[in-house]
Every structure is written in C-alpha cells, then in structure tokens.
C-alpha cells in the first residue's frame, strides 16, 4: 500500500459514523516518546537519525495492530504525497516538510499512525470517529506498551517521559477532539466555547487548512498540560467534563436555531447550496466554509436529497493534494479551483 491509495475515500475518522459525531466529529490521542541513549532531534546527526528510524521501524512494523500496516519513507515521498498525509491528519505539516531520515507507519484504516523523527523520535496517534476517547486511550496504551518491550524510552522518575520540548514532558499525551460548532457560531455564542477551553487550560485550533485559523466552524480542542496528572485523569476531564459541556452548548444553540430562527438557518443552508451547485471557481477555504453550513443543515434535518456521506467526501477530497492526486496532474491554484467547483457540482447535483 502507498499514500496515494488513500486519496479516493473519506478517512474513517471523518465519516460521521461514531457516537455523537454530528458535534464531536472524532477523537484522537497522541503520545510523544524518545529513545534512551539518543540525542533529541535538534542535536541528532543525520546518521544517528537514520539509526533511530530503523530501530523504531523494526519495533513497530511487526506489531499486531489488527491490520497490515505500511511504512512511508516521508523524506523520499513527493510533495503531493506528503501533503496528502497532512490533509488526512496522518502526519503533521512539520513532519511532512522536515529534514533528514524520517518516516511514518500507517494503518490502512487510518486509526493508527506513528511518526518517526518528527519533533520527537516517535509520536504515535490513535484516531476514532465520534467521541471515543477512552477507547483511543486503551488502544494507544496497549500499542505503546508493546513498543516499549522492544526499545528503551527516555524516561526519568521525576519528569516521566522526556521530550524535546518541555511542553510535552511527563505523559507526552495530547488528547484532542475535533468539533463542529456551527450553531454556537451562528448564534454569536462561540465565546462560550473559547471560555470553557480557557478555563480548562485547553488549546483551540482549526481543523482544516494551512494555519491555525478555524475555517468552517471546525475546531480542534486539546490539552496543554502533560505533567502532573495521569493519562486517565486527562482523558476523564475531556470525557466527563469538557466534551459534555461543549456538546450541550452546541445542542442548545441548534435547538434555538430550529425553534426561533428557522428562516435564517434555511437561508444560510440554501445560499450555501446555491453557490456550491453553481460556482465555476471555488477555493478550498470557500468550499469548507459553505460545506460546513450544508453539514449543519443535514444534521438539523433541513436538507433533503443530499447525504452526509457526500458532504464528508467533498470536505476531504476537495483539499489541494487530494484533488491533484485524483486527477493525476499537478494543478496551480486557479485550475484547482475550477476542478474543485466541477467536482462539487457533479456530486451535489447528482443527489
């Protein structure tokens, strides 16, 4: 299997099939680890970096992960392949465009990836659709322990798992949920979400696109503190406290929209559909923005004849690298906008 084989379908984590996925699109847990006896990346020579890559590859590839995983030599991959993996959230932008020997071990279901030689020697992640953080933790903990039987992690009795940046030290855990909060945005209550995040010492980022800007009302919410609490405690804070609170805010806002502002909602959805169905040029930013309204419309039961699957597919497959790999040619931004518009038209008008 190779990265391009993934380019034609929606990632499982975005397919909307998980528990509560109309609001909590997906759950992800990442662990940062480093090998004992090796410098961190900033001080690691290319030769030793290659050694780290080999060691971790050998430790991870034979593991029983429930499916046959494959290795991607990120350093040797084309820019398009690198970007495809970034768009699918399988590797980070930093990893894609980093330098030196580095790679990724990927499960074809995309529920598991290991980035080797990103900011730390090893970053493993488990991804699931909907709110399934506890399941993510159980799975990643098992995988982490299995890797640990084969390699020595840099571990300190006082500081725990040692990481290149002290913001990850201790558990090395990053717990994230991807959220779709269009109603909070539309009712002018998105501050409720930002305040809840700030009170919980959590970080907010966008889900799609280049920067950290949240496009199309999609947000990623993650913990910042990695030291001084156990992994279970950190997960529990999300599952028991933060996620229910934000879900409740968004659900209440959706109810308000349906009971008090139904014309405004329908107008927004239908205008979005109108543009999507007729545009001849559309940027990925605009597409995300409009598709977000359509996704909300479907989840509120205000759209007939368009499936959530179709919309999810468009979110994922209209991203620049996906578009180019699937058309088989390198396209500049203007051409991409035309191809994207055509793809959206044919998908939505066929429904």
């Amino acid at each position: 299997m190779k990265p391009a084989d993934l380019s034609r379908h929606v990632s499982k984590w975005f397919d909307g099939s998980g528990p509560g996925a109309d609001i909590v699109i997906s759950s992800r847990i990442r662990l940062a680890r480093n090998l004992a006896g090796y410098e961190f990346l900033p001080c690691l020579t290319a030769r030793r970096q290659a050694e780290v890559l080999e060691k971790l590859k050998e430790a991870i590839l034979p593991l029983d992960l429930g499916e046959a995983v494959f290795f991607v030599d990120v350093d040797a991959s084309s820019t398009l392949e690198q970007d495809l993996l970034v768009e699918r959230h399988l590797i980070s932008r930093q990893h894609a465009h980093g330098k030196g020997p580095r790679g990724a071990v990927i499960a074809p279901s995309e529920s598991f990836t290991a980035m080797i030689n990103e900011e730390d020697h090893l970053r493993i992640q488990v991804f699931k659709t909907g709110q399934q953080l506890k399941e993510c933790w159980q799975q990643i903990n098992r995988i982490d322990s299995a890797i640990e039987q084969k390699v020595d992690y840099a571990f300190d009795p006082e500081y725990g798992y040692l990481t290149a940046c002290p913001t990850n030290v201790g558990t090395g855990i990053r717990v994230s949920v991807m959220l779709h909060l269009p109603a909070l945005k539309m009712t002018g209550q998105i501050d409720k979400f930002f305040n809840a995040a700030r009170d919980g010492d959590l970080m907010v980022r966008g889900l799609f696109g280049e920067g950290t800007e949240a496009v199309g009302d999609f947000f990623q919410l993650s913990n910042q503190v990695t030291l001084g609490a156990s992994e279970e405690q950190i997960v529990e804070e999300f599952v028991g406290l933060i996620v229910p609170k934000i879900t409740q805010y968004e659900a209440a806002a959706r109810q308000v929209l349906l009971t008090q502002q139904v014309d405004a909602v329908d107008d927004k959805i239908q205008r979005a559909l109108g543009v999507l169905k007729s545009a001849r040029l559309i940027s990925s930013q605009e597409a995300l923005f409009l598709l977000s309204h359509v996704r909300m419309g479907i989840n509120l039961g205000r759209v007939d004849g368009i499936s959530l699957d179709a919309v999810n597919e468009l979110f994922m497959l209209t991203q620049p690298a996906h578009l180019q790999l699937n058309t088989g040619e390198t396209l500049d931004a203007d051409h991409r906008d035309a191809v994207r518009a055509k793809m959206i038209r044919s998908r939505l008008c066929a429904n």
Binding site: C43, Q149, D152, Y161, C165, R198, V204, L227
Partner: protein, 166 residues
C-alpha cells in the same frame, strides 16, 4: 500576576513592545485587553507560548534571573546551552533535564500549570535511570567511533558494556 488595568483579574495577555531599543511590557486580563482594542489570537502555537513564558520568566526576575544566570550552562553530552534552549524551546538530549536543573524546572512549572512531577504511566520494564542513559549515550558514541576506526576489539568491549547497562 494581576491585570495592570483593573488590578482584579489575572493577567493572561502579556505584551512586549520594543521602541527604539527600549522594552516595555504590559500585562492585561482578556476583558481589559479587549476594551483597549487589542486583537487576541485565540490559538497560540505551543512553541510561541513557551517563548512568551520564557521571556516573561527572564523579565520578571530582573538581572538576577536564574534563566539568565544559567545561560552559559552547557550539556556535556549534546553540547546544548541553556541560552540556545531559551531561543529554540527545544532541548538537545534527555540529559539536559538534569544539567539545566532548577532554571529548567522553573520553566517547566510555568508551562505545566505549576506541576513538576510525573504522575502518569511508567514503563513496565525497569526504567533506565538517567545516569545509565548518559552512559549509554556516551558508550554509543564511543562505539560509533571505534567502528569508524575499525577498532573492533574496543567496539566489542563497548558493546558488552552497553548490553550490561540495558
């Protein structure tokens, strides 16, 4: 740190302005910052956040700041200095956590909400203690050199020593 404007809420927004070489700092809470029309980025990349913390740390403690006094500390294993770490916010090797000691601990506590001790998962295998890690790293480097010099007798000895440590 309290907000300089209202003196009530905790200051969460720290501005550093440099005008004609003069550095001025303002510490505000979110409400006062908004009143003053300051646009606040709601998402700050971790590295940026850490740099801000590092700057605040150095400033708040004046000339005698441990962070400044520690600037020249150099890790014997990887060569990283504390100064370089302050600039790049990434450490050079696991040993740095011991070498940079207290000044680093102060930064960790700031970044980690006051915490300085791990309370989570511990590897099932007996943790390689930090001293062993340094030894291992040094041995590995020596081993590399021995192999490069085709000194296989030394290399074999080093390998045995490493195996004993592991």
């Amino acid at each position: 740190m309290l907000c300089q404007s209202c003196n009530e809420r905790t200051a969460t927004i720290h501005l550093t302005e440099i005008t004609e070489g003069m550095r001025a700092e303002t510490h505000l809470c979110e409400a006062c910052a908004q009143k003053q029309g300051l646009a606040v980025k709601s998402q700050i990349p971790l590295n940026e956040l850490l740099s801000t913390l590092l700057a605040a740390q150095t400033e708040s403690q004046g000339g005698q700041a441990p962070a400044e006094a520690a600037a020249d500390i150099r890790c014997p294993s990887c060569g990283m200095t504390f100064q370089t770490f302050l600039q790049k916010s990434q450490l050079g090797c696991p040993h740095d956590y011991k070498v940079f000691d207290e000044p680093l601990k102060a930064i960790i506590q700031k970044a980690q909400n006051g915490h300085a001790r791990h309370r989570g998962k511990v590897p099932a295998s007996a943790p390689v203690d930090t001293r062993d890690q340094i030894k291992l790293m040094n041995l590995r480097q020596q081993l590399e050199e021995a192999v490069r010099n085709e000194d296989y007798e030394t290399a074999a000895k080093l390998r045995d020593m490493m195996e004993n440590l592991q």
